[in-house]
Subunit: 682 residues, 3 copies
């Protein structure tokens, strides 16, 4: 990441003063209020195309120039967005081809946003032109902090242009050999063989390899579009560039896009306050942590939180108010996991249109008198005071594999279970105990280099892309510990099943053969009985959904099924392999199993948490480090006041703007939604 | 209403003898059975187009002439419908443009009914021609009682012709100033500014003001179509005209259509017998009463029940039989609320096609031997005997605001709660205690003159159309009592949010600022604790869905929240303003709150019910008046025999065709589904 | 059925070696494994079009010739499929007209399978050509056992060609008289009269007779397509032809197609293992038995099970493993009900595409080592040993009427109940006690000759096609016993309601008038109180969904309602008519009523079960006979070991490959999923 980005922990917001051109008082209020809220940046230009080019070829940058001037004077840096996320009406009417085509439903009407064809030469030319104009004018401005490419790239287009580009991409991927494609698509099934490349003009979801390739292509084409946007900026500007990615969105393979960006940013909309008890907020915190760890691991660098809501959203069935303190807690959690920025959608609520009720720093009421403004201003002051954290790193001895192509493959495949596959939920279930324990985790694609990790957890690794099995095998041989599960090792990158016995190329390292996989109806359960002295693990757990019928080969059995015709057969195994060990979890077990099993495992591996401390349930610690210095956050998500104690020495605690020495063994109180910020130098 | 309409309480039905041209016996039976059932009218010609014009330009009115002749001789008056509700196949094939266009799904196939474009010049010409032919032939016939324009106008069309008309309508509305439209649509959001009127060719639901204008336009265009129909009749006929409106249908703004009609009629399909207990029937009765009060208030005149089912419908998931007596009860409820007619869909069941199983006065069996025929014949005799009621009025000291544009706006807006907004259910919940208490209520649009009312109840008045806030403020200042709630005063007629603090222009009269609105998940509740000696109100009530966080300014707090971080803050307030008072209900409370609060309020205001009486739960009274005479109905919806007593003097009771003196203080028995009909002269 | 078919109980599978052309080892393995599994046949060529004609006019039969050769040498007979079930991409692209049109959604993209227009002359020409080529080459091959026409004919097309053919079909059906069609469609309702045949270009679902005719036409057109396929084969081949029909599929009227086939085959996918208890498997077994009895009764001849899954499917939400023994049990049940073949989809799992996880005899693992292979091989040996059963018949004294046109009519009609009509479930509910009792049942269309039956059960016979009422009346008059129910006798073949009182032409034989039909909400129930000494029936049963209000005329009342305003009225009646009796079940009662009522009835009628025996719940017997010899299967579906005893003499039992004498009165043990196979000669 460019070093200029590490100046501070940024505090900013999406800012659309062009909606208020007719009310100069609002512009004046904004400047005053930004400083009152300790805002260090503002993001402008998202969706501003019609205000920059109100008619084809008629440009008007005057209002944006005024924004640059006044913000620079006022002390805010600027994140400048390209406007490609929403094309103007005039353009959609003049060039209908730029509207997306939805398969079998024709071309979309002009509406909403994120609706352009990523292939259209006309649209690309228009984007290059407006980006170039922006970069030429503002690309070297001293207030320019970063480029914000478009907005939340997403969706797909099935027009002739896109299918043409898809066929070109396929020709390249399959060496211009249609027979090769036919073989790898197993297209003789149901007579789906192609006799001509031009026959590929529709995505038949039943041809799984075709569906996978289409998704891969859409990532490729979107990335290509993004690079086209960037290419128009670069002649005029060296400012670092990002695009705002999204939590829970798996339509684009972010792991493939990340290398092309200077730094990663994402938009987080966790659902705080879903329940009456604190449990839901702990789950929400876990969801947030998981995504922070995923986006940070994309480049193993600090990331930005480009969007979060200061209060309610406007697009959920029900959006709760953020209770006092929750926003601050959520913001410090972001920083604790490697975030160097906390930014809002949005600075000021719009008066009209679809998101007028989305929360903002400044509400329709318009002043600093609101509760939310007060909380944001206090947080802004704290972020300002803790600027030293910016740029520091995260240590992660654990990798949790969360591979988007694998998610797609599982979603596409039609197998013994076509509902409640719950791939993402399963990843979170294996992540949760590691997060609760305060361990550093990288959430990663399956193709990363595993050599720096002690433990790799790869649940439901259905698809093994090239070299992944080899790399995992080598990782274990060299002393690493691998955990994988049911529904792993079934298919290759073309979704062709492995022959000769599952889990295919992982069979050796796991030391077993999976002959059959039973799937359970929603009302059915099994139980597994665990007994392993090595891990100190015992007891009985409920199993649901998936139950593999396993033949251990070299593996040892650590648990067996209690019910059904496969009672007594292996449900958990471990295989000693080289200098390491490989565990196989054969059934989908209740969460307490994941918790007890993984806790036992990290203890056995002697991994170190963020801080050695007694933390009650729902109180979680995270750590960042730089050059012998470390910062630790103790975050209380449990919804009640709690006490905690650390056994470690040498920490200071940040309170009321100052650092105070912290005594080891002393009991500390954390109010509900409270945050303790510690640091020490080694 | 034309005085000829007040001749009697009409008893009639939709009559389609053209389905039985080949079976003269059926025509003869019908005449005999109509008299046996005491039918005073018949509605003919609905959906008869292909029988009147079987091929383009070939007309055949012979069968209809025969119907006029025979019915006139038999003693029935005729309600004559224009046939525009269902266009012939030959027309749809010859002129495809008359079929509707569904956005993004192309032009509809010819099917069903209510499927014509309201703009098409060809269709309008065809309608004018057939209407003219009908009027020329039958417009002055002595048996003609009224015109029935089309049938259940509804739906929309998105064809180029309609969009062209929409753009013309918008030009007029926005003074031919596209910038003005852009500003009021807040269209800079997501780059939705228009640079040319012709760009307005699709309804983007996210642009709320556009969606609202489209609905307004569809009311305008449908009304215009209706007036076009009427214009073709008027040169030949002075008979009063109506169209049959629908309960629960909010697609057209009936308040805007009503002034163009001579009298109001509606189609009611209450769901009697939904539950095992009587509670559901009380709710069904409340639903019916609410709609009677709405349709009567449209012109503050007696209305017609143009359609009801004598038994089961054929278009619900499950349609119950009407138990003995229920139909009579439902019919007298209609009259009690201002109905001057009880008419059926339909006279005789069709043998085939989609509604063949919809109940009718004469079933497939074909004789007078059925239970249903017997009950209808008895009711017919009673209506005949009570003809004196026709034309009498209803006194209503209370207005309940139920504004369709406001309903649309709440449905369209995307805010903190996008499910279970329950605007209509909330209106019913505030209406129910007033109805149960026997108070006269006008259910009205927000733009009416409030000066004649003592109490105005305006729940969820999200949108304040021009002058509404001013008029409500003036109403309170002059001594009126206003009740409004959460989710009121947020936006103007363009769905632009009020700046400076909610509830915008109602802030002064209510004396408070609503800073935030929490919304609760389905499984979440709060509680409010009420204590007000002035109203004599106390206790604790459950709150759900919406909880405003209020800053009282001049208002006094009558209740506070018991839970969550806003425990202790105001949940019910009252503001003394001028000579009146304005109440604010900050949360959506359980029904018993509405019941206790509004009952306390009407007592405080000393409003008079239909009759001073002890009525058990589920027994409800309604009153009509004319020139010193009053009629009161006591209606038993509770499903069990009940006793009741009145404290008033001077009433007579109608029994077995005669009036008998009623002693005050005496206990009367009402069987399940029983009706007591009283009158007195003052 | 051709006598060559009776050679043995066939054991086979769909076999697609063309997917493995590049791996000769797989071809070799297959031959070895087929013999190891005792496979006597293989079905080839389904969906093989692109491998037979990879480009237009370029044919390649070499691989198929090799399959014929090697299988013949290896000892397997061949069932040869025509490839019309999946058209090649090249053909769909060259001739877009062969793709189906979905009304109002345009022409389908080329995808999946079963997607061709059945009318298209081009497609018919292509099919005739490829079928001719196949027949010319293989039609007289000694290994050819039978023709398999296409695959699972289904679906519909709404293109102009199909509508043209539909109009021709209508002209013929209605004597080229459009007025006649209009009258029978009751098309004056909603002005739906046609003035020109060409106006019939869309299926308006509300015009029920039109919807029915469309379904009839689609059966006609599909049959016509099938005969076109067959005509291309017959010049070159005399081998018997079938097509694989489907259980639970009612889109085509199989009763109308059956006469055109040489023998019947069907594809069965029962859902074993749905619940924790054995009850669900008993229901699944009942579903299977019902369909076996339906498909056998189509020609009153043995049928083939053309497809079943050896394990899990891949297209259900959740597919359970088949527990040990379940497959064998299911296979013998097939034979017990008249099946002469047990065949699998599929021989070997495909590596890729949509059904790669569908179970197969040979799994991805590829060897004979799997549990499933072992069970199949054992079953294969048993089938081989019991070849004597092939060609034997089933005796059925009972007919259960299950008429597809009636199902369609009930599905289409819009009446007092439009949800949970449950016509098929009701048929199963009446079938279950007969099956559990071991009685022979033919499941038949309503137009069959009833004279050979003792008991006809016709639940929900809403539609009475021509002569059906007459034939049922004659059946009773001649001494037969008829049972029918609520929602019977309402409409004729044009879905025109009967006038003069329901159940129309069945009124006389049943001796009653059904005045009204109440329908109950899901949460509502009634109860019926039964007391009949003649049947020895008594007690109280719950009623749901439908409750007829009946006026007995000549019928006697055997049960009355306990609740609602019709308490005390008739709920079950019997009418003595001629030499027989006709029962009317007026309400939908809980299953135990059907069980007790029908059990009492078969005892009264002295019908004989498969075997006189004490069989515990879930253990069921079936019988086949030929020339004085009989075979009986005792099948244990209850999920637990059970004991049983027979009172009959002279049986032998098949055990370990040999027949052993069975002593009457002796207790026998049947393990869970066990099968006892008995025989005797009389």
């Amino acid at each position: 990441m460019s070093s200029s980005l590490h100046h501070t922990l940024w505090h900013g917001a999406d800012y659309n003063p062009e909606q208020w051109l007719e009310t100069p008082q609002v512009w004046e209020d904004d400047l005053r209020l930004m400083n009152a809220a300790h805002m260090s940046s503002a993001t402008i230009g998202i969706f501003s195309w019609t205000m920059l080019e109100p008619r084809e070829g008629e440009f008007d940058f005057s209002w944006m120039e005024r924004v640059f001037e006044t913000l620079a004077q006022n002390g805010q840096k600027i994140v400048l967005a390209t406007p490609s996320g929403a094309k103007p009406h005039w353009m959609a009417r003049q060039y209908p081809e730029i509207r997306r085509v939805v398969p079998e439903r024709g071309r979309q009407a002009q509406q909403a946003r994120h609706n352009h064809c990523p292939t259209s030469p006309v649209y690309r030319a228009k984007v290059a032109q407006i980006n170039g104009e922006l970069a030429r004018r503002f690309g070297k401005h001293e207030a320019l902090l970063a480029w914000h490419l478009s907005n939340e790239y997403s969706g797909e287009c099935g027009c002739d242009l896109c299918f043409g580009a898809f066929r070109d991409w396929l020709r390249k991927r399959y060496d211009n050999d249609l027979d090769k494609l036919n073989r790898l698509y197993w297209s003789r099934f149901w007579s789906h063989s192609y006799s001509d490349w031009d026959e590929i003009d529709f995505i038949d979801k039943g041809v799984h390899a075709l569906g996978l390739d289409w998704r891969r292509f859409m990532t490729h084409q979107t990335t290509d579009f993004m690079l086209h946007e960037l290419a128009a900026l670069r002649p005029h500007s060296k400012a670092p560039a990002t695009t705002n990615m999204m939590g829970d969105f798996t339509g684009l393979d972010y792991a493939a896009m990340a290398p092309h960006l200077d730094f990663i940013s994402w938009d987080a909309y966790p659902q705080w306050g879903k329940g009456g008890t604190g449990d839901d907020d702990i789950q929400t915190a876990c969801w947030s942590a998981f995504h922070h760890d995923f986006f940070r691991a994309l480049k193993r660098q600090p990331f930005w939180l480009m969007e979060c809501s200061p209060g309610q959203t406007n697009w959920r069935d029900v959006s709760k108010l953020k209770a006092p303190g929750v926003h601050r807690l959520s913001a410090w959690q972001t920083v604790a996991h490697g975030g160097d920025a906390v930014m809002y959608f949005q600075w000021r609520q719009s008066r009209g249109s679809s998101e007028k009720f989305h929360a903002a720093v400044v509400s329709h009421e318009g002043s600093e008198k609101t509760r939310m403004f007060g909380e944001i201003a206090q947080l802004g002051a704290e972020l300002e005071a803790l600027g030293e954290v910016a740029g520091s790193q995260t240590e992660a001895p654990i990798a949790l594999v969360y591979d988007f192509e694998n998610l797609w493959a599982i979603a596409n495949e039609q197998g013994p279970r076509n509902t409640n596959k719950s791939t993402q939920k399963t990843a979170l279930d294996f992540y949760a105990p590691l997060w609760k324990g305060g361990y550093g985790v990288d959430v990663v694609d399956s193709t990363v280099d595993f050599s720096s990790y002690k433990l790799v957890v790869a649940p439901m690794l259905y698809m093994l892309k090239p070299q992944v099995a080899e790399r995992l095998t080598e990782f274990v041989r060299a002393g690493g510990t691998l955990v994988t599960t049911y529904w792993s090792g079934l298919a290759d990158e073309h979704d062709l099943c492995f022959l000769g016995g599952f889990p295919g190329p992982l069979r050796e390292v796991l030391g077993l053969w999976v002959e059959e996989t039973d799937t359970l109806h929603a009302h059915q359960t099994n139980r597994i009985q665990v007994g392993d002295s090595q891990l100190g693990l015992g007891g009985e757990f409920e199993a649901r959904d998936y139950c593999d019928l396993v033949h251990p080969e070299s593996a040892r059995v650590l648990a067996t099924y209690a019910c059904d015709f496969y009672a007594g057969r292996a449900a958990l195994t471990v295989n000693d392999f080289g200098a390491g060990q490989a565990y196989y979890v054969a059934s989908r077990n209740e969460s307490s199993f994941q918790s007890e099993f993984l806790t036992a495992l990290v203890h056995k591996l002697e991994l170190k948490p963020a801080i050695e401390a007694d933390l009650p349930t729902g109180v979680v610690a995270q750590k960042r480090v730089r050059q012998g210095r470390e910062w630790v956050w103790v975050l209380n998500f449990c919804g009640q006041t709690q006490s905690w104690t650390t056994r470690e020495e040498g920490f200071e605690k940040f309170e009321k703007g100052e650092w105070h020495a912290l005594q080891s063994g002393q009991q500390h109180t954390l109010p509900s939604s409270g945050v303790a910020i510690l640091r020490r130098s080694k």
